[in-house]
Every structure is written in C-alpha cells, then in structure tokens.
C-alpha cells in the first residue's frame, strides 16, 4: 500500500487554492480507483493554514507519524521554504502543486522535490513578454510583499524591457487598496501588472472597477483571475488579461476529460490549482507503474517520478521535468471576456513554448 500526505492551505482567505489542489488530486485518484498501479492509496490531509511553522509541523507529522511514501501539495512558497529542510533530509518524493520559489529551482534544488505546477516567475515572465510584445512603454507593478510576490515582479521585469513606473508591495492579506489605487490613478501608467491571489485578487479587481480604472488602463495579471475568482467577479473581470499554464479552454483530451469530470463532481469549473493536483495523481500513478508498485526504495521512486514527468498524461498537453525538477512547459495569455452578466475565458496567445525557468543554471543537479 501507498500512503500519500497532502498538505496545503485549506482555511482562510486563500483556502480555496489548497482545496482545489486537494479536490483535483482526489478526483484523479478516484478515476484511478484509489490505486496507483496495483497499490491501494491512503491519503492523509493537513492544513498548513498558510503558516510556515504549521506547514513544517505537518510535514513532520507525515514523516514521523504517518510514514508517508510521497507528499503532495506543499502550499505557498513561504510554507514550502519552511518545509524544505525536512523534505530534503527525508528523501521522500515531494511534489509541489502550487509553489516553485526561485531558491528551490536554483541553489537549494533537491532531487526528491518536484515543482509540478510552475516556477514562480514563469507566468509573470509570460506577461512581461506579452506586454513587451504589445509595445507598452511603461508598466505599473503591484503585489503582496512576500517572496512569491517579489519573484513574480522580477519575472515580469526579466522580459519586459519598457520602464517600470512604480513597484508597489502591499502587506500580505491587505483587503482595502483605496490608497494604492488612488496613487495608481494619479500615476496613470500605460499598463498595470498585478499579482494577487484568491480573495485579495478579487477585492483588488473590484476596487479597480469601482475606481473606474478597468477599461481605462489595460490590466495584466497573474493569480487574480482563475475560475474561482471568476465565480465572484463575473463580468467585473471583463478585459482582464492574465498569464497561466492552463485554463479550462485549453484544447487537449486529458484537459477536456478533467474539466468534465471536475464539473460533474464539484459543480464548478476547475482552476489551474485543481489541474495541478489532478496532474500530481497521474504523475505518481505513472511512476508507481514503472516500479511495478514497489516504492520501498526512495531513490528509485524519485528517479521514477522524474522520468514519469515527460510520460504521464497531463492536462497541459505537454510537460517534462527540467534538470532542476522544475517544469518545462508552455505558457499562455488568456483574457476574461464579459458576456452579458457572465464571463468566459478566451485564449489570446501562446507566449512561450517549452519554457525553462531562469534559475535552472544555478542548480547543480544534472
């Protein structure tokens, strides 16, 4: 039998993200008949409450109490960083379905830690590139002040060559942006790029609209628009352009299958977080199959997972692990388009194909 530990943020404003990863994972597992290969799978779930220390405890529980064979989820970047030491020491297969902080992609990369979702910077890099392609002269950047936030803006700037009007870092969890928005209005930039997730993102989007900026200034974002936030934003998201590795409109069989199954089970369209969770299950399944169900040897399991990266059926159509265990994948620009009271997502462009992250050279794994 195989025990898998899932840790992620399940409560609080960002709880939705964790829940989606969990739901996606469990959905896939269900499709696989609760088996990886011929092995029955037991899943233990921990809520890291978006607190690094709690996350670290969760991992400790997995390793010491539940003696898991693989860990999935690993929450936000800051939580992952806190868990890093234990994960490395343990050598257990760990699959991050949400975070891919720079250090983990670079200097601190570990053989047994896989970034299945993305390297943090990449979607922003895509947006940077896209804004660059559209030829905007300057851009105004905003995000929450935590590691991921900083990575995102760096990612954007890596590919955007125009000048940066201003970089604004707001405290994590801030909900009222009136002050920042007034300042933004005064600055009146050509383009606005923001990284705000979950409820924070929704708030920001709505306050942008209330202040009458949406429509005036083109808004590019990451994390702000996904099928969760669209539920609450509806037509208010209209016109928002965002970068992502996946969206329900993506056209490939696995993706279609996934979206259908997910909507049937949970009654709403899946987000990319759900997609990552879903992929994680199939990845593990493929790896376990390669080992004919024997995961007792951790090194072997790790190696198997790495190979499986380029073989498992992914909703993203095409996927592989880089030398630093980060994804090599396509990045797209999507647009939210209001239709009456409702909203749909349209695919604008494939900004990068088989994109590598910027840190791979720093990682000494081969």
């Amino acid at each position: 039998d195989i025990t898998v530990g899932f840790s992620g943020v399940l409560s609080g404003p960002q709880g939705v993200l964790g829940q989606d990863q969990r739901d996606g994972f469990l959905l896939a597992l269900e499709e696989l008949g609760n088996k990886f290969g011929d092995q029955n799978v037991k899943v233990v779930i921990e809520d890291d409450q978006l607190k690094p220390d709690v996350g670290a405890q969760a991992i400790q529980k997995f390793l010491e109490r539940d003696k898991v064979d693989a860990i999935v989820g690993l929450g936000f970047s800051n939580v992952l960083m806190a868990e890093l030491r234990r994960i490395k020491d343990s050598g257990v297969v760990a699959i991050a379905t949400n975070a891919g902080p720079g250090p983990v992609a670079g200097k601190l990369c570990a053989p047994n830690l896989f970034g299945l979702a993305w390297q943090n910077d990449t979607m922003s890099e895509a947006m940077g590139q896209y804004v660059q392609d559209l030829g905007h002269k300057n851009a105004y950047l905003m995000t929450s002040s935590y590691q991921a936030g900083k990575d995102k803006l760096n990612g954007f700037k890596r590919y955007f060559k125009g000048d940066v009007a201003k970089e604004v870092y707001t405290p994590l969890g801030q909900l009222d942006f009136s002050a920042e928005i007034s300042a933004l209005q005064a600055a009146n930039p050509e383009a606005l790029f923001v990284f705000y997730t979950g409820g924070t993102g929704v708030n920001f989007a709505r306050q942008l609209r209330q202040a009458g900026i949406m429509g005036k200034t083109p808004v590019y974002s990451e994390g702000m628009i996904d099928s969760n936030t669209l539920v609450s934003l509806k037509s208010q998201a209209d016109g928002n352009i965002y970068g992502a590795t996946w969206a329900p409109v993506l056209n490939n069989p696995q993706s279609k299958k996934f979206v259908k199954a997910f909507e049937d089970k949970y009654g709403h369209t899946p987000s990319e977080y759900a997609a990552n969770g879903y992929d994680a299950a199939y990845l593990l399944n493929t790896a376990v199959l390669k080992l004919n169900g024997d995961v007792s040897n951790r090194e072997a399991f790790v190696k198997a997972v790495k190979q499986a990266g380029s073989e498992f059926p992914t909703v993203r159509g095409k996927f592989a692990f880089n030398t630093n265990n980060m994804p090599i994948q396509n990045l797209y620009a999507f647009k939210a388009v209001g239709q009456g009271d409702d909203v749909v997502v349209k695919q604008l462009a494939t900004v990068f194909t088989d994109h590598q992250d910027a840190y791979v050279s720093e990682c000494d794994m081969k």
Binding site: D53, A56, E64, S145, Q147
Partner: protein, 329 residues
C-alpha cells in the same frame, strides 16, 4: 491559599507523568508525540512565565509572543550567520530579552488595566511588522535554522533533546514559582495587583517591582522561544502574531490564574484538545470555541480565593476595574 496543600502532590505526579511520555512514545513507536509534547511543554514554559506578571501582578500582557519571537530569532539569526554555539545563542537571547523587557516594560508600566493590555500588544505588533519587513531574515517567509543550538556536551538536535531540556527547565521554574508566590517579593508583587496605591504608600516602588517581574517573565518566555526555534528548526513572524499571545492567556486561564501548575495544565489541555479535534474534523474550531467559552463560564467562580484578588478594582486604571468599589454584593 489552599493551592499549596495539594501543590505538594500535584507537582511531582505531573512531572513524573511528563517524564514517562518519551518512553511511552518509544514503546508505541510514535516519535511524533515526543515532538508534539515538546511543543506543549514549551508553551507551558511560556505560559508559566507569563503567569508571573499576569497571575501574580495582574498585569495582563497581551504581547508576550514578542519574547517568544525574540528567542526564536536569537537562534535563527545567529545560526543564519553560522553561530550555532548554544551558550552564545542563549546568552544573546537572554541579554536581548532583558534589554527589550526593560525598555518596553518601563513604557508599558506607565499604563495599567486595559491600557497595559493594549500597549503590550502594540509593541509586539511593532516587532511583528519589523520582522515581517526584515527581508534579510526571511521577512514574512521566515528563517530556516539549518543547525541547532550546540551546548558542547549536549545539542538540541532532535525533538527528544528539546523535550528533556524543556522538561527540566519547566520543573525548575515550577519549583521556583512555588516559592516565589509566598516570598516577600511575591507577596508584594501580588499586593501591587490588589492595591498599588497602598503598596506605594508603604514605600515599596510598585514600578520597580512590576518591572522586575516583567523582565523575569520576559526572559523566561524568551528561553521558551529559544527552545521553540530549535524544535521547529524555524523562526517566523507568525510566532509573534497576537493570536499566540492570546493563546498563552487562554492557557493560563484554563489552568487557573495564579496557580503555579495551572498554566502547565492549561497548555496541555488546550493543545491536546486542539490536536484531537483537528484530527476529528476540519471544523474543529466549531467545537473548540464553545468549549473554551464554557471553560470560562465555568471557571469564573472556581478560584474563589483568586477572585478575591482579581475582583479588586486596580486603583490606577479605571477601565480594568472588575468590581466597582463599594457595590452592594
């Protein structure tokens, strides 16, 4: 003080039971429980420390998480610069705590009652945001501690080392507090809570006495933080967030204010309950909340001899006044 009679029994029994835990965990092969109870004891240590100001002096510090934070970051930052010598870390931790406690304390003690509650909160919040902003030390994301405190002949490398260290410290503290309560210092300290004006009128300096109590409490809490850092191998601002300060208070009240072993029981009850409920349902707070409320409602009359202390209006701050003077019962 009826507590002293049963104290004789409770204390040894409690600590023997606690001493048994690691072995039990060994036997049932659940090393996790050592880690868990190490955490419990660390919080118990902090709660006991807080109880010096809160239980004896009636100074409700809503900012003690700050000292836990100081302890954690003393370890975190030093080891960040490759200094993992436990003695140096401990020294720095204590020194910093003393300095901060003296500075913060001498400002806070100008106020009393709710004023004190809030100003202590203010300082810990300031420290919180300071650490959040100090990106060199991880800011919001916290600081990994890659090597644990090394005391030469003994290193806080694993859960069980931390456990025993905490156990020993806690035992010493409990014995000490047990004496402190009735010692001249302790009596005057408690007197300051009943009627500071009167204590002043005897020529004791209420301020000095309260300050020394605050510093003592702060240092011990800091040491708890020191241990916590070694246990979780991590230092993060959320250790300083007001929720933790609140939980420490909750633990004390659960266990019984002013009782020496109270906070220890409080910590155990609170954290074990939390753990059990979490395992039981994701909506554990739905159960935990009411339980806490009920404890409060039930506990309010329980410690009659303490209520005598607590229901005295503090002459200084009107707001904290619990029973207005001279009200017909």
């Amino acid at each position: 003080m009826n507590s002293r009679s049963w104290m004789r029994l409770v204390l040894p029994v409690l600590f023997i039971v606690l001493a048994a835990i690691p072995f039990v965990a060994q036997v049932v092969d659940e090393p996790f429980y050592v880690t868990f109870f190490a955490r419990v004891l660390i919080y118990a240590l902090a709660a006991c420390a807080l109880n010096i100001v809160l239980g004896f002096a009636g100074l409700v510090s809503f900012g003690h998480a700050m000292f836990i934070g100081l302890g954690c970051y003393a370890v975190g930052i030093l080891s960040h610069y490759g200094i993992s010598n436990g003695w140096i870390q401990l020294f720095v931790c204590i020194a910093v705590c003393i300095v901060v406690a003296v500075l913060v304390g001498s400002v806070c003690l100008r106020t009393s009652g709710i004023g004190f509650i809030m100003i202590t909160l203010a300082f810990s919040q300031m420290f919180y945001f300071l650490m959040v902003s100090l990106t060199p030390f991880g800011g919001d994301d916290g600081l990994n501690i890659y090597e644990s405190s090394n005391f030469g002949w003994f290193e806080l490398s694993g859960s069980s080392e931390v456990y025993w260290a905490t156990w020993a410290l806690l035992l010493m503290l409990a014995l000490f507090l047990n004496r402190l309560r009735t010692s001249p210092f302790g009596m005057v300290l408690r007197a300051t809570h009943i009627n500071p004006r009167r204590v002043d009128a005897f020529g004791y300096s209420v301020f000095r006495i309260q300050l020394s109590a605050y510093v003592l409490s702060g240092v011990i809490t800091g040491i708890a933080g020191f241990l916590l850092a070694n246990l979780t191998a991590f230092a993060v601002p959320s250790y300083i967030a007001w929720h933790l300060s609140g939980e420490l208070i909750v633990m004390i009240v659960i266990g019984g204010i002013g009782l020496v072993t109270g906070p220890i029981f409080g910590a155990i009850v609170f954290l074990v309950l939390e753990e059990v409920l979490k395992g039981w349902t994701t909506h554990w707070m739905l159960v935990m909340g009411p339980i806490i409320t009920i404890i409060a409602l039930a506990g309010r009359n329980q410690f009659a001899w303490l209520k005598a202390i607590f229901n005295r209006p503090s002459a200084a701050g009107p707001a904290i006044k619990t029973r207005p003077n001279g009200e017909l019962p």
